[in-house]
Amino acid sequence: MAQETKLLPPKLAGEVLELVKGFSESKAKKVKEIVLQEYSHAQVEPGECVGIISAESIGEPGTQMTLNTFHFAGVAEMNVTMGLPRIIEILDGRSDISTPMMEIFLKNPYSKGKDIKEIALSIKETKLNEISDSFHIDIADKSIAIALNQEKMSELKVTQTMAINALKNGAKGYTLSQVKNGLLLKKKEKEENINVLYVDKEKFKQLHVSGVKGISQVLPVKRGEEYVIITSGTNLKDVFEMDFVDETRTMSNDVFEIAEVLGIEAARQAIINEVFKVIESQGLNVDIRHIMLVADTMCNLGLVKGITRYGVVSEKASVLARASFETPIRHIINAALIGEEDKLDSVVENVMINQPTPIGTGLPSLVVKVKE
């Protein structure tokens, strides 16, 4: 009885079993048979060249994609890289994406809009120069005077102690003292070079005072009934630790960060989602299975690899195939050094030596038993 369902993937098998509950045995068997038949019809034929078909299916509509990035002007939404540049960025497996972004979902009382502004502000990273009016270097005294702006501090919900703590950790080698309307940092050692002082000053400006590191902008948005916080800059790890954040739905658009924090399966899904989002926004129609295949090849080594000569192409087994894609000399030299063997069992190599490619009609071969 369970023979048919065994051949189906678990999720589909479960659905079928659910469906046939209460059916007579012969009827249930028939349903299962039909499902199995349909399922095997939907499967790809052996020898079907899924990679090239995926490449063509994504590449051809890609030529119609507008090259310019769309900018969401104004306050309502943030500036996000979309279109072809974004697709290239994802598929190249770049770790520093041009517009990192998070969508933070909130737990119940907060998702209804409770303290939404305060929550948003607490996520946003505040740097020292945002709460100060000026950084003044006194060359004679070898000191830096920081004038704090009380107005901004209260606006950003930062206290003077927070600034002091930040400087205590960040400004090693300086003695900190509080002066009228600000702080004074005095260099402990005698330092002849004023340039060092200047470099330090610039460093202090970027000191993290409060909020989540790396998040430069926050924007609470109402999505239907729910409030969501959109940020520019990502830091999944720290955000997940905040107790008002719904970590099951919060997403980042940085594939590498997702791979690091949530694992490779999540990264694969993130690639699929991000690429599909762009393709959809351009009004193109690409089957999601093509993108899934691309995401699979990018992630099947357990870490995200781009479709570049350093990424998935460098993982190809064949020397000739690697050499035919950018920097051939490097591949040939390296192969020669270790005496690499090319089994000639893929497409490009066989095109090069003018032999039938092991795909489609070139895949099957006739085996004849010779009578002795």
Binding site: V351, M352, I353, N354, G360, T361
Partner: protein
Amino acid sequence: MSEVFLNGKFVGNVDEPRLFVERAKEERRRGALGHHVNLSYYEKTDTVEIESMRGRALRPLIVVKNGQPLLTERHVRQLEREEISWSDLIDQGIIEYIDANEEEHCFVAFYDHELTAEHTHLEVAPLAMLGLASGLVPYANYNQSTRLNAGSKNQKQSLGLYVSNYALRMDMDVNVLHEPQLPVVQTSLHAISDYQKHPAGQNVVVAIMSFKGYNMEDAIILNKGSIDRGLSRSSYFRPSVAEELRYPGGLVDGICIPDKDVKGYKSERDYRLLEDDGIISPEASIGEGDVIIGKTSPPRFLSNLDEYSLDSSTRRESSVSVKHGERGIIDFVLITENEEGNKLVQVRVRDERIPEIGDKFTSRHGQKGVVGLIVPEGDMPFSESGIVPDILFSPHGIPSRMTISHLIEMVAGKVGALHGRFIDGTAFDVEPEEKLRKELLAMGFRENGVETMYNGETGEQYQAKIFMGNMYYLKLKHMVANKLHSRARGPIQLLTRQPTEGRAKEGGLRLGEMEKDTFIAHGASLLLKERFDSDKTILPVCEGCGTIAIHDEYKNKSYCPLCGDNVEISFVEMSYAFKLILDELKALCVYPKLFLKSKY
């Protein structure tokens, strides 16, 4: 204190920059400073920049003082009587040349009735802001600028009378239009540029209508009758050159009919057109492969002594012959001597080019198109009065491109043709459309230019009224006769044994990487192999060491250069290019080995 820069280099300071610039400009107008020196004061940076370098685009403007142009009626009259010239006006400071920087600080009026006290300059003519080629586009101010650009670019490629002494010249690759005409709709630049001396197109009757789908996608339809009457015929000239070179050792090339025992002798038929001096005669009709100038050269390498003899058997054939796919008539033969004193023969070939399907035509408004169909005159649509258009232009070319000037030229051309006068279409200074419409109406035509037309094949009246008018059409130098190419078999490259590339070398048409991918996507593996086996070879491979072995055809024996003949040698089919890369790797000290395995 403002800083002064001369051609971008700091030269000093001035106290009152504005006054300084003003005075310097006065000096320039007086002639004390060069006419091509331009000054400008930048308030933001508080700098004065003086430019005198070459390579800046300058344009002339009439100087205006207190709202009055310095150019007066008196000057214009003097100019008309040729008492003064343009350069006199510049010397007197009436007209000055302004560069892009100085123009930023000028206030230029378009017309003199717009002048106020603040204006500093007046446009010589609004047309002056266009270049020569764009100035030749009639009704240009009715167009989008991109179309004006396209229109002027197309004009540069049109056939016409490029020089009047073309019959005496040996220019490479030139075309001359037979019976070129002056356009009915002109601009003032046509007069200025002496267009009547080198016209480049013909006036034709154009109807805007579709015709059986053969003028889709910018194609145009030509009337066979018009072509037979000589519309857009042109001649194509190409000279061939041969020189009697002198080589070290006293050997020389010889221009003559080659002897039969010369190395590389073609066939007797190929030399049939040559006269006794080894040169073809004028007005001979030639085709592919025919020899134009017979020539023999001494052997390339002198190895043994008998090659020093003047015996013709050692000489090699080096005649000039008609290239693949070309034909024509010998137009002109020139025998002369070059700078080194060598005998030089130049033969010009002429080919009459009658418009055919695939030739490129354009109006002056960036509406280029290729001939899609040539229709017999009897099948062409005709108007009530019996007018048959020369060209049918597709209406779909108009809305997206918004070339209003194209439509206006048709109306204007119609008026001009019916009246027998030229119409002025100078940009910003045109004969108004309303006037043209009124004239058309007065002559008994519909004022909007449409006419009742009849189907040439059935005689039925078309329901729609067809817009028809006269236009100036240009034949462009891109003709199919120069581009048509196909090949099934042909020459291959020596190095790779792959087909040659390009029409000139009778090359193959590449099945590129993306085309290859489509074969793979279809799983057509064996078809793919066949498509790429243009350079396949069968090579002996040593199964012992994996190198390419040697096969001796005489002894019918194979042996390996490394393992000797006591080893298994198999014949393998592969592409020659792959064999080549194996050899190249060996040259790079990389030792590729082939391990053979039975396929089954």
